[in-house]
Amino acid sequence: MDNSIWMVAAFYLLSAVIIVSALLVVFLKNIVHSVLWLAVCFIALAGLFLTLDADFLAAVQVLVYAGAVCIMVVFGIMLIQRGDMGKTNLFNSQTGVAAGVVALVLVVSGYLSAATHWVGTAAPVPHKTVEHIATLLLSKYVIPFEVAALLLLVALVGAIILAKEVKAKC
């Protein structure tokens, strides 16, 4: 990432969009608007990847999160459509507990990021990132990769079993 003024401006702009849209996801009362802001948040995150020259990751971010995860939420919303969408994003009054948990998370993650010794490489980002990611996935990280695939298979089988069960009862 070159440190030109434009890159810095892009970074702060994208960060602002991400933070604002993430806050709106949490605070809006209508769950549909929350989903749309979630998509905005994901796309801005993809922009952040682009400023780091990670074009493949940015495309994955858009395809998987904005294109697929949001759609899954949308499916859920359409199955529970009700007349008044204004109160679909539920709130409760457990403010004290929530504030404690959030403060704990902030402290722990702040401590961890301060204690970590960040190693940056001086080497430039390779021109083609896809090949390197593929090679790493199928050599060094092949076991996590396969475990993730297995997890998805289990979820798939679970979904099929759930669908069958409903059919048998009807």
Binding site: N30, A66, M78
Partner: protein, 350 residues
């Protein structure tokens, strides 16, 4: 003959700016903006023409004459239609989600236009030569689903909602075989760059190396653009106009025009991935490369229209069954056969 027409204009403009003492970065930016605007205008003119072409093709197939009153041969019919739609009142339903309702027709054109930027229109004619071009296409195309759904959901109309639900279900189901079909070509070339993929087809177009993938891509492409026989999304006899039911005036027109932009996009990708892009067949290089690209795209578009006016609409359960039980297993089998075939070729030492 005109091979370097457009690249020449770009080089001339760049040299002109250079001579005028414009700094290099501003020069690049100006050139980029000119290219983007050129692509935008090209797409919009083509979309207008496609609406007219569709009406003429459908008329020909149904033994009618089609539009022939406005302008020579009825060529200005679409312009007149758009003028009419622009002047119409935009009705916003009282209970609709107004901002989302108005945002959807504005946003619907964004993904197709953003993808057009990376398309290689001819030799060295991609506005942005992106390393992950094909993947960029898939990622942005997946965003269209959400925008269609925005329109359908915010209308506060049961037909719109059913249409939106069908859009989401159909586009998600058929995106899978579409991606898996393209994977066969990517395995053969080992790259996601559109220019490299086209160069790899210098001897054999991939429609001959990957006929099954082409067929799957084509069927999934018809479905992704929501056209007959997969136009359940806007099946007039069942759900009026699906997600667009409540839209009037230009809002409706934007959805219609976006459909044609998407048809063009699917045809362009078909040309790049399977029909050799801007490469000239039989060594007929006397026709410029960008013109070959244009011809191939229009042949694909004509086939799309031909199919639309030939086949009846299928049922929802048939749609889902066909997508998940036929196309997905076939595309997985295609990937497997391609992989095995590549190893056999390598073992023989071709």
């Amino acid at each position: 003959m005109g091979e370097n027409l457009f690249t020449g204009i770009a080089a001339w403009l760049s040299a002109l700016l250079n001579a005028a003492g414009v700094p290099l970065i501003a020069n690049d930016i100006i050139l980029m903006v000119v290219k983007f605007v050129a692509i935008l205008v090209f797409i919009l003119v083509n979309v207008l023409w496609l609406v007219y072409m569709e009406r003429k093709v459908s008329a020909y197939i149904q033994c009618r004459i089609g539009p022939n009153r406005v302008g020579p041969k009825g060529l200005l019919q679409t312009v007149a239609d758009i003028g009419k739609l622009l002047s119409k009142e935009i009705i916003i339903p009282r209970l609709s989600d107004k901002i989302v309702f108005l945002l959807a027709p504005v946003l619907i054109f964004v993904p197709p236009l953003m993808i057009m930027v990376v398309v290689p229109w001819g030799r060295d004619m991609a506005a942005v030569n992106m390393n992950i071009g094909v993947f960029y296409f898939l990622a942005l195309a997946s965003l269209s689903t959400l925008i269609f759904w925005m329109g359908g959901w915010s209308s506060y109309n049961k037909y719109s909602l059913v249409g939106a639900m069908r859009v989401v279900a159909q586009m998600v189901s058929y995106e899978l075989p579409l991606v898996l079909a393209l994977l066969g070509v990517i395995m053969l070339t080992g790259t996601l760059n559109m220019n490299t993929i086209i160069e790899a087809q210098r001897h054999t177009w991939f429609i001959f190396a990957q006929p099954l993938a082409f067929l799957i891509y084509f069927i999934a492409g018809v479905s992704e653009t929501n056209r007959t026989p997969f136009d359940l999304v806007e099946g007039e006899s069942e759900i009026i106009a699906g997600p667009y039911t409540e839209y009037s005036g230009m809002g409706y027109a934007m959805f219609m025009l976006a459909e044609y932009a998407n048809v063009m996009l699917v045809s362009i990708m078909c040309t790049v991935m399977f029909l050799g892009g801007w490469l000239a067949p039989f060594g007929w290089t006397f026709i410029p490369s960008w013109f070959w690209f244009f011809i191939k795209v229009y042949v694909m578009i004509f086939i799309f229209m031909w199919i639309r006016w030939t086949y009846p609409r299928i049922r929802v359960d048939q749609l889902m069954g066909f997508g998940w039980k036929v196309l997905v297993p076939l595309s997985l089998a295609n990937i497997f056969v391609t992989g095995v075939g590549m190893y056999i070729y390598r073992a023989i030492g071709w």
